[in-house]
Symmetry: C2
Subunit: 142 residues, 2 copies
Amino acid sequence: MKPKISVLTLAVSNLENAVAFYRDGLGFPCKGILGEEFEGTETAPAGALGFFQLTNELILALYPRSELAKDANLPSAPESSLEFSIGYLADSKEDVDHIIDQAKSAGATLTDAPHERPWGIYSGYFKDPDGHLWEIIWNPSM
Amino acid sequence: MKPKISVLTLAVSNLENAVAFYRDGLGFPCKGILGEEFEGTETAPAGALGFFQLTNELILALYPRSELAKDANLPSAPESSLEFSIGYLADSKEDVDHIIDQAKSAGATLTDAPHERPWGIYSGYFKDPDGHLWEIIWNPSM
């Protein structure tokens, strides 16, 4: 596992308002709201999130709290570990599995085992010992 | 304000355990626990935190939840906005003030007005509309 953070995802109550704050209020360059074609269901997460390309190759993402809960397979009740997630872009599916195993060995709690997600990525989630949420991602299009 | 995140600070319950997780468990290169000379008081935050230099110039910091509460001038009761803070390294004191003003105009809530802190930085904190905590920092030594 390389020492890097690729994406910082903030759980938000209202996506439009949150995008407006960062795009219009702080002036961050917004790639728009992506993934709206994935509508979701009661149990499957919708895909829509706001994307901002930051300097030094970091991405800031805004994602509804309810959808992050579903995507990470965690209760939708307010919980600190859902306030954000830290994304790590791995090199392959095998790399995702390896990193998840490494994290579990280190004391992390797996919340959602790695699997294919509808938007074309393969990822799993774990919580660090303080409940901070990491998503380890293989994205074949990046 | 540039579109960047310089530091990601995670609030932790036990600093030694948290450092061990990231350093020994995940293998992140640790600069050690810095700032231990600032012991803090009932109301003033202690300075000790764990520092990790990540790729693309991002720093991951681990800081006791109780001390982050004091440093950001927020209640020490569990609160989502204390689960982490996003650090932004500004160009000058004036830049800190300007960015804080910009954030307030955009709808942010100031929690701690910019001032000199004992470890030689000038910073202020605001919460974004969802309670996510930002510290805008001028550090003359960086």
